[in-house]
């Protein structure tokens, strides 16, 4: 993966791997974790949990609606159920079940969507979850978490398991650059400032955090000081971090591997509008679906690059 290479970020594990390994570890600590699979455990990496805890793992076949209903019943009986499938399938196929069985009755089901974004590559748009964050945010009471890399995904998985309510955790397929160190601070709803700056703020999540760090480096070459904030939690959004960015830097660029409507950009813009209006720009997938290709080719072709963030920052600064 090209993102982050220019600033020397090394590639870590895919966030789906970090999730799967962390989940297996947490399984030892929390005997009430039960995992429901839609026959994709070797893709979502719940296979590690399945191997260690076969009695607490249920592969119910390619049936996302049923997965979520079962999880709802398990949660009502005091279990900590995790349902994991592709982001596109679990949210789009089982949205009504997430609404009726999880959000509305306020049950602490943990929903994990893998293969999010266009960086899955060659499998193409049918497999790419790029509207999942909007859908998850629409569910009342859900926390929505999009971690950036391997160490923060490990921490996010623990935070998800320990969160009292329902959570959507979004993870990706490819190996991604490491921006955190092991044992990093991670609190649902509390953004992490990764780099301070005074002229503009780059707010990103997921893979785009590394791209934003790269963009900040490029902007520095032009004597523009960019703050970089990892807004890993889209809901509940960190209002204080956004207000501070608006007031202290005067402009915000929001970067995400998601469609334009209903994602991180919308959440940040709502907060800015309510607290401290400032100039904003958005780097995302727009209002269209992608195609097959290598992850690097797709990120380039669909404008999810450090250069695109730099251009957006310049627009904000004009």
């Amino acid at each position: 993966m090209k993102i982050g290479a220019r600033i020397g970020l090394s590639l870590g594990k895919a966030t789906r791997d970090a999730f799967g390994l962390a989940l297996a570890e947490l399984g030892r600590e929390y005997p009430d974790i039960v995992v429901i699979d839609g026959d994709v455990h070797n893709s979502t990496r719940t296979e590690y949990f399945a191997r260690e805890f076969p009695d607490r793992f249920f592969n119910v076949g390619i049936a996302e609606s049923n997965m979520v209903g079962i999880a709802s019943g398990l949660a009502a009986c005091g279990k900590r159920p995790v349902v994991a499938s592709f982001a596109a399938f679990i949210l789009c196929n089982a949205f009504d079940q997430l609404r009726m069985g999880v959000a509305f009755p306020e049950l602490p089901v943990k929903v994990v969507g893998s293969h999010a974004g266009i960086s899955i590559g060659e499998d193409g748009p049918s497999q790419m979850g790029i509207e999942d964050v909007a859908l998850a945010c629409a569910l009342g009471g859900f926390a929505v978490v999009v971690p950036a890399d391997e160490p923060s995904t490990r921490a996010a998985t623990r935070a998800m398991i320990e969160h009292p309510g329902p959570v959507y955790l979004r993870v990706g397929r490819p190996k991604v650059p490491v921006v955190y160190t092991d044992g990093c601070e991670f609190q649902i709803g509390r953004a992490n400032e990764l780099r301070d700056g005074t002229d503009v703020t780059l707010i990103a999540n997921g893979l785009m955090v590394a791209a934003a760090l790269e963009a900040a480096y490029l902007l520095e070459q032009e004597d523009i000081s960019a703050r970089v904030v990892d807004m890993h939690t889209v809901k509940p959004i960190d209002v204080a971090a956004i207000q501070a960015a608006a007031e202290e830097t005067g402009g915000i660029v929001v970067c995400e591997e998601h469609l334009h409507y209903g994602g991180l950009g919308a959440a940040v813009a709502q907060t800015v509008a309510e607290t401290s209006p400032c100039r904003m720009a958005f780097v995302n997938l727009g209002d269209r679906y992608a195609e097959s290709g290598t992850p690097d080719e797709l990120l380039e072709a669909y404008g999810l690059t450090a250069e695109a963030i730099v251009a957006a920052a310049r627009r904000v600064l004009e």
Binding site: V34, A63, I70, S72, L74, A76, M100, F104
Partner: protein, 279 residues
Amino acid sequence: MATTLSDTKRQELEAIAKRIRRHIIASTTKAGSGHPSSSLSAVEIAVTLFFGGVMRYRPQEPGWPDRDRFILSKGHAAPLLYAVLAEAGYFPVEELQTLRRIGSPLEGHPNRKRLPAVEASTGSLGQGLSIGLGHALAARLDGRDYRVYVLLGDGEIDEGQVWEAAAAARKYQVSNLIAIIDHNGYQQTGPTSEVLDMEPIAEKWRTFGWDVQEIDGHDLDALAAAFAHATAAEAPSVIVARTVKGKGIESVLKELKDENMHGKPLPEEAAQKALALLS
């Protein structure tokens, strides 16, 4: 038909069934909306479960971990569920008159957040069997021996999720999961045979690996026998209960020229006639 119940028990259940029918009609007519006819078809099913010695439960402790579960997957029959819970002692019968009124926990469709005795929030059809399967698997994980009863409508089995759950229940051989199909032959806009014909219903469940019984869903003896068989079965079990939509007040529905009467309360005058029939 074989008799399973003692005469005294049968008479007691008949009396409860009559009271529950009266509650259904009175509460929906007072509310001015609701689904009385869909509730009336399943009265004997619910009465047998709650009052025929089939289910164990503690009205003073709704969250008792070892309780048997009753999940109303056809959530629009909420007036039936509320009437049964009130008669069972979960809350005073007088509260039934608050059906669908703001502030009342007796919402149009069951809401488990508002009423602790409600096991699952339902009203979007097709989801209760999956939720019931979750409860049934939790019993296995926790080493508990409670049973899970899920009441579905016959129109509801149009939903694909029902069959996802049916297949998964076979895979895990959850013998503590018992489904009842309230086969009243009607769904919202007409006969199930015309809207989407799912016959042969029993055969479908059989091919999904379930223990299947077909009975008259208003025959209290047949229901008692069917539940005795279902609870002893090694496989997940389904009872296809042939019922009549609006059972007990058929003559009133006939006069109104609407034998389906889906999602409509009886007008005041018709309600009085119906209550008189059931006195």
